[in-house]
């Protein structure tokens, strides 16, 4: 039988899916074990049990000075920035994507401009953002917006252009105005694409968030990681990294489920 025709059964598929996670965990445990037998106070690869203890302490014990559980405050601060940034990016991207995709006038006016803007490395603008918007929340949100917006605009306008011409002509023969075509034909057709584009943007959004927090902040997941780096607190860093990964994965999963639930007609295309 050819390899392309071998389809794993359900238990095998589950086993194969879990396998790489297990392998990484085992490899880490062995590495950590070797280092710790050599030097019990080694900080580079803390034992999984140490990480677990640290994680439990982080999520349950308050800060010695203020009594706040910093882990949850960090999470909340970062999620707020991320949601705000992505939310603004998605709404503005949707608006301009529709305008550029539907109106040839707007396409001539803005398409090239957005293409050029998207080539600016957002992190190179970070100092300017700190100077202009200060070190508060605004500059971090703006960095996420600047980092993800050009991609969203370009992707969504391309999706609007890809809506079959036939549908736009058909809508016109039913008497639809440009406005009706935008809100009843183009908008619903690209909503699943918007969710997909947001899913793809989440990676860069986290990158910009953590970069901004690492440089100037007093709260946030990225800030904490870069703070405890000074004490080589690998157990804290790894807990935060795993936590960020879990959050990012859950967001991706939720968006995928939302797309399937709200746009069942698009299932085949996704």
């Amino acid at each position: 039988m050819r390899f392309i025709n071998i389809i794993p059964t359900r238990p095998l598929a589950v086993f194969l899916a879990i396998l790489p996670f297990a392998l990484v965990f085992i490899a880490y445990s062995i590495g950590s074990e070797i280092r710790l037998t050599e030097n019990p106070s080694d900080k580079l690869l803390p034992a999984p049990s140490t990480i677990w203890d640290t994680a439990v302490r982080l999520v349950s014990e308050g800060d010695r000075r203020t009594g706040r559980i910093l882990f949850w405050h960090d999470t909340w601060a970062s999620l707020k920035r991320l949601a705000l940034g992505i939310g603004i990016s998605a709404s503005v991207g949707l608006l301009f994507g529709l305008l550029i995709g539907l109106l040839p006038l707007m396409r001539s006016f803005l398409a090239q401009f957005v293409a050029v803007l998207s080539m600016i490395p957002p992190l190179a603008l970070l100092p300017i953002l700190f100077i202009v918007f200060g070190l508060g929340e605004l500059s971090k949100v703006v960095l996420i917006v600047i980092g993800t917006l050009p991609f969203l605009i370009r992707d969504l306008s391309q999706r609007v252009i890809e809506v079959p011409k036939e549908l736009l002509v058909k809508a016109q023969t039913l008497g639809a105005s440009s406005w009706v075509i935008a809100v009843r034909v183009a908008l619903p057709q690209i909503m699943p694409r918007l969710i997909q584009a947001v899913r793809l943007s989440l990676g860069p959004a986290w990158l910009f968030l953590i970069a901004a927090e690492a440089i100037a902040s007093d709260l946030g997941l990225g800030y904490r990681i870069f703070l405890v780096r000074r004490y080589l607190a690998m157990d804290v860093i790894l807990t935060y990294v795993i936590w960020i990964t879990i959050i990012a994965f859950l967001m991706d999963w939720a968006l995928r489920r939302a797309s399937a639930k709200f746009f069942p007609w698009a299932e085949e295309g996704l």
């Binding site: 036939e166 549908l167 058909k170 023969t173 009706v180 034909v185």
Partner: protein, 255 residues
């Protein structure tokens, strides 16, 4: 006064003439089949009728109105594919035929309920009432085209344009669609233009069959000349009794 008047229409893309010297008069309620080889401007002619494109020269007017600049309510269209909105259910697709002309493209309240009831009547008539809540992607090709025709008709266009509507259907479904279209036409008395590759279909459904072809053919540069209407057959009654009567008036005479 004819219903659809096509006067001296030329269409050129860049330097390439596609169709030349098209002159046709069509009476209200006539069914016009358009046939011809690929690349002979049939679909271009249909796009001109639809006002999706404007001719380089000449003009097309429907019911004496000035030539249209863009597609509108007076022309209905069914394409071979992508004729229904995939993000709306079958029932919503029918309602869209009436509601898209509104400011928000929707009906509200009592008006909406009335429109939904009318849509259910329409769906029962075109035999799609059992799939009213499904999305078009779940329907077969024939059902999708029936939906597309039904949707175009609820908008009550003056002229219905069909661009190879049954081209992607299997032969059995195609025959069923012929009956469906014939019945609908009997009810509405609509003026129809249909582009098709199938000669049998063209003569079976049409009152007239227009043949698009290139009257002059340059072997060195086949794209030098555009196509035009080379034959205009009377196809009523299987094309037999009227053929001799109208032969003189409709045969193309190269100038």
């Amino acid at each position: 006064m004819s219903f659809v008047t096509v006067k001296g229409v030329f269409q050129t893309y860049g330097n390439r003439p596609i169709i030349e010297r098209i002159n046709v008069d069509v009476d209200e309620g006539e069914f016009i089949s358009i046939v011809g080889a690929s690349g002979c401007g049939k679909s271009t002619f249909l796009r001109l009728l639809l006002a999706q494109e404007r001719p380089s020269r000449g003009e097309i007017s429907i019911a004496g109105a000035p030539p249209a600049k863009e597609p509108g309510l007076d022309r209905g269209i069914v394409f071979q594919r992508y004729s229904v909105f995939p993000h709306m259910t079958v029932r919503e697709n029918i309602v869209a035929g009436e509601s898209f002309r509104r400011g928000w493209g929707r009906f509200w309240g009592a008006e909406r309920r009335a429109a939904l009831a009318r849509a259910d009547d329409t769906l029962a008539r075109i035999g799609l009432d059992h799939v009213a809540d499904q999305y078009p992607a779940t329907l077969s090709g024939g059902m999708q085209q029936r939906l597309a025709i039904g949707q175009a008709l609820v908008a009550r266009p003056r002229v219905l344009l069909l661009d190879e509507p049954f081209g992607a259907l299997d032969p059995g479904t195609r025959l069923a669609m012929h009956d469906f279209l014939t019945d609908l036409r009997g009810e509405t008395g609509m003026t129809v233009f249909m582009v098709t590759h199938d000669l049998e279909e063209a003569f079976k459904l049409g009152d007239r069959v227009l043949v698009f072809d290139k009257p002059r053919w340059d072997p060195q540069d086949p794209n030098l000349n555009g196509a035009t209407i080379t034959y205009d057959f009377d196809a009523r009654d299987g094309g037999i009794p009227f053929q001799t009567l109208k032969e003189e008036t409709h045969v193309f005479h190269p100038a």
